[in-house]
Each structure stands twice: as C-alpha cells, then as structure tokens.
Subunit: 345 residues, 2 copies
C-alpha cells in the first residue's frame, strides 16, 4: 500500500492527471467508461487525495468552524454536538476551537480559520467588541460569520440568542407566586446579557410590587468553569443567609454557577426547596439526577443550532452578492423545566 498522486494514477492508466481529477469530481466532461475505469482503480488502491493541494488550488476547504469560550460548559457542548450532527448530513466538515474567554486566543482561533480556508464561522465571542476588525475583514473577504449566544457583539451579521429578560422575568414571577419574594439573582460578571437579565428580574419584582434590593444581586467574576470561585461564592451566599431577612430563593443565570451553588447550599445544610428555592440556568442532562433534582431554565439549544446552520448555509450560497442580506438578530424563547428544587411555601 502506498500513497498515489493523480499523476501516478494517470501513468498507470495511460490518462492525464487532469482527466483523473475530473473523473473523481464526477465531471460531465468525462465518459462513463473512463470514469468507471478510474473509480475502480482508485478504489482498489484506496486513493486518498491530498487535501492541502486541493485547498490551495480551489481556495476552499469544505470546513466550517465553531468557536466557543469553553466546550466544557454544557450549553456550548450541546450546541457543538447539535451543529456537528446537522453538518454530518452535509458535505461540510467541522472544526472546534475554544477561546477560553481570552481575546488573544480568539484572535488566534480566527486567524487559524483564515489560514485554513475555513468557509464559515459560528462564534460566541469573548466580548462585545473582541476581534471586531478581524471579524469585519473576514466577513468582507473570507467567509460568513454567525454570532450566537453572546449577541451583543458589534459585528453586523446574523445573530442567534435568547430572550434573557423574558425568561428571567418568568422565573422571577414564578418564585414570587410561590411566595418567595426575597430572591437572589446570581450573575457572572461582565457578561453581555446581564443588563437584559437584570431588567427582567427588576420588572418582575416591580409588577408584583416587591421592592428591589441591590444587595440581592450577586456578581461573580470568572472566566473559566474551572476557576476556583467556590470560596467567594460560598462567603457571599453565607453573608446573605445570615441577614435578618434571609433570602428564600435563588436564581442562577449560568450553567457553571448553578451546579456550584447547589453544592454549596447542600454543604451549608440549607434545605432545598423548603428553605430555599433554586432555579438554575443549565443544559446538563443530569439535572434530573441531582440532589435535589434541579429546576432549570433550558435554552433551545437545538433550535439555535439549526437556525445558525441554516443562516450560515444561506450566506454561503449567496457568497458573492455583497449587501444581499438584511441581517437580523433572532431572540429565541427559553423554557423552565420544573423539578424538585422549587416549590411553594
């Protein structure tokens, strides 16, 4: 077994390399007999084409990229799996890149895409203006870019995200209906969607006539699921619990925080749901097997993935038509999955 080139195959079959190439690409220029001859032979020798040569010549790679902050975050993981599954039914391959919430790594990831002739990018960017000029350049000259999840980014393109304020409003409203009015809102610091989340929270309180307390908003600063924020989180929660009017509900707005806070509340012997209602933001499939099972806000991951791919493929089809698209931002609805960590008093 040895690796053949088109030239060598041509020599073996007394045909030119160009003819072999055309046959393998099923060109209408080549006769059926010649095609069969060539295909039989290439199959026999298990011809494996040289991807770099093809890509260099054509400028195409048949590969899309998905760029996420952390693949270990279950939402991003699910999203990746969904994209991966959808693309497996097309001719496109997919590569996964992580930024670790680091602008430099993001730039490297995008440059890798340019280097590798990537044909389309789906990205949840590090910050609202991260890699802005590079992304703009890519949109103009390299390939279409779709932004998901962190849709406050300034690039003008299609964006797919969720109705943060709406779902936080619903969750808050539900807790109030359950007679839980002293609600902690737990946020990851400096995330684009926080403004919208706080708005949903405040609006729900306001409409129910519940006074807003500044101290009930906890922001934790971390950039990786592996950052050690447990102590800080525990101390902030303890402080609130030891106040005269201890909170009786907690709404956690990221995946990472939800699991940590459950663990901490268990450790602090806070009874869930009796003493504290808990709603997490999470896509973990284990929510059902947690102790107690966790009521979660679930993002419509699959829908987001489908829409992202759909829009990207649309843009790929019209690739040479500048200003062809009216870019839109899609806000999808989340749902609340009720489990044992919430109940009425």
């Amino acid at each position: 077994m040895k690796r053949f080139t088109l030239k060598e195959i041509g020599q073996q079959l007394n045909l030119s390399p160009g003819t072999i190439s055309k046959a393998l690409n099923d060109s209408h220029e080549i006769s059926a007999e010649t095609k069969k001859l060539i295909l039989d032979f290439t199959q026999k020798i298990n011809y494996i084409p040289n991807f770099s040569a093809k890509s260099l010549k054509t400028g195409r790679s048949n590969t899309l990229a998905i760029i996420v902050p952390f693949i270990s975050s279950s939402f991003f993981f699910d999203f990746y799996e969904d994209i991966s599954h959808i693309l497996s039914q097309t001719n496109y391959k997919l590569i996964l890149l992580q930024t670790f919430n680091d602008e430099k790594k993001e730039k490297e990831a995008l440059e890798l895409c340019v280097q590798s002739n990537i044909e389309g990018v789906i990205i949840s960017p590090v910050k609202n203006d991260s890699s802005l000029s590079l992304l703009f350049y890519m949109m103009e000259q390299v390939c279409p870019v779709i932004i998901f999840d962190r849709i406050n980014h300034q690039l003008d393109t299609f964006k797919i995200g969720i109705q943060n304020n709406k779902v936080i409003y619903q969750a808050t409203e539900e807790m109030i209906k359950n007679r839980r009015e002293n609600i902690i809102l737990l946020l990851c610091k400096d995330i684009g969607g926080n403004v919208s989340r706080i708005k949903g929270y405040k609006d729900a309180l306001f409409n129910a006539g519940v006074p807003f307390k500044e101290e009930n908003i906890i922001e934790i600063s971390y950039s990786s699921p592996k950052d050690n924020i447990d102590d800080e989180l525990e101390s902030k929660i303890s402080t609130l619990l030891n106040r005269p009017f201890a909170p009786n509900a907690l709404l956690s707005t990221t995946d990472t925080l939800s699991l940590k806070v459950l663990h901490i509340l268990n450790k602090l012997k806070v009874k869930i749901p009796d003493d504290m209602n808990l709603i997490g933001f999470s896509n973990t499939p284990f929510a059902n097997s947690l102790n107690p099972s966790l009521t979660t806000i679930t993002q419509p991951t699959q829908l987001m993935a489908e829409k992202s791919v759909e829009l990207l493929l649309q843009m790929l089809k019209k690739k040479n038509k500048k200003n062809y698209f009216e870019f839109e931002t899609y806000f999808l609805d989340c749902s609340i999955e009720h489990r044992k960590s919430t109940s009425s008093l």
Copy 2:
C-alpha cells in the same frame, strides 16, 4: 485590509518571496535588519499565511488528531480536554474526530487525517480489528498512532489503558467486605475490556468464597450514550430485584450505564445505599452532587493523556527510524472514590 501573499510582500519591500519566507521562519540565513523590516511590515498588515500552501510544500501540518467513539462520554471528554490542554503548550494544533462506534466513520476519520497531513493520531478504536490495514499503513507511511482505552486492538504500537481486572476486583472485594455478596455486574456488550472485568469480578468472589451466579452479569448492548436502553435496563434490573434473593449491590462498568442505573434505581424506589450499594464507572464532575452522591471508579484520565502525548511526541521525534521502538502497553491504576452510594450493612 487585504490578504497578502509572500510575493506581494516581497514587491512592497523590494525583496524576494524566498527571503520573506525565510525571515518569517526565523532562518539564520537572514540578517537581523532585514528580519526586523519584514516582521514590522507583516505585523502592520496582519499577514496571515496560507496554511494549505505551506502544508502542501512541506508535507507537514503541525496538527495531531484525537479520535474517540463519543465525545459526549465524560471519560473521552475529559481525556480530550487534557490532551488539548497539554498540546496548547506545544506548537501542535489538535483536531477532534468522532467515530460513533461505526467502523465506516472510523475509516473516514482516519482518511481525513491522511488527507490533511495530520502528524499523529491518538485513537480509541471501534473494535479490536477495526481499520487495521489502514492503521498499519498510516504507521508505516504517514504518522505515528497511539491507542488508548480500547487497548485490545491488534495494531502493534504504544497503548495506554487501565487495569480493568484489578479495579473491578477491588470494587467487588469492597462490596463483599461490606457484607454485600449478591452483586450485579453491569457491562456494555462487546467491549474489549469485558473479559478482564469479568475475571476481576469472578476472582474476587472466588477468593472470598462467594459463589458466582451467571445471572448476576447483565450485558446491555448499545453503541451511543443516546441509544434508548432505559427500558431494557429497567426491566433487567427489575427482574433481578424480584428474585427470591434480591441483589444488594451493583457495579456498573461504564459511564453511561452508571448514570442511567442511578436514575432507574431511584425511580424503582430502591433505597441507596440501604437496599442497594452502587459503584459507578464515571468521570463525571457531578458525582458529588448526584442523589445520592455516587461512589465511583475513576480512571486516571490526566495521566493517560500525559502518557499518550509523551509517547506520541517521542515517536514524532524519531520519525524516520523504523523499528526504533519496543512498543509497550501501559496499564494504569484506577481509584475508587467513596461517596454515599456505598456503605456497610
């Protein structure tokens, strides 16, 4: 902003493309001043090289591949993350490919590696002889291959796996010491390591003088974590539970099965650990937050990842020396993490 080629940069600076290339690769042939001139300019214009051209010319890609059955399985996920982290400290890039336990997909994945000039592969193969000739060809002519996890594969190379029989022996022994003698051993059908697992299980029973019962071994056939095996699993467990001498311990040997079985036992109102001790095979970080927290057999994932990369890099260094290596198989030790799903009677 526009994409430059070396030729264009040469024109701008009145230098030849070759000189630009050498300067960017920090060749000793180029003077310090010229290098500075070129680097300043390429930085200014944000020169992004064409990867395909480089790869075509050199036959190298600076990229390694990891091929796993399912990235959604937490062991493979952790392993991938570890490999990814280790390689981020080198010059190598990493691509992730999944086989979904499908030999055809595995072949495609490996061919993609060949096409893309991948320089090394770390794989957990589908079956003991899957893609054997292709893997052999790759080892001979393309790049080194390391096998991990499913180390019964017939390819002659370095392999990194675990001491299945030893850890299953320990877990079984522990259960017996806890006076749990009627132990279900739960296996995924047709996995290479099962022989060794069953041996560990039987040996521990034998040495403790506990009679072996064929019916206590349950094999479930599935190839994906998403396969719907819940009903089958539930019915098989129910059957055993309804026997005159109901089992009082369960040892689950895969990640997927461990979480499912916990869920089913909870559903069947079996009290854990009182009525049933449960040890799972799992790397999930949530084991602590499960209901009840799950005693697990944990694979030394990071060690396995480190060893895999170490061996691969060693082989890469000596790439042109055939028969340079005495291939070995490494069997690493697992540990048992005790949590609330096990206790003595």
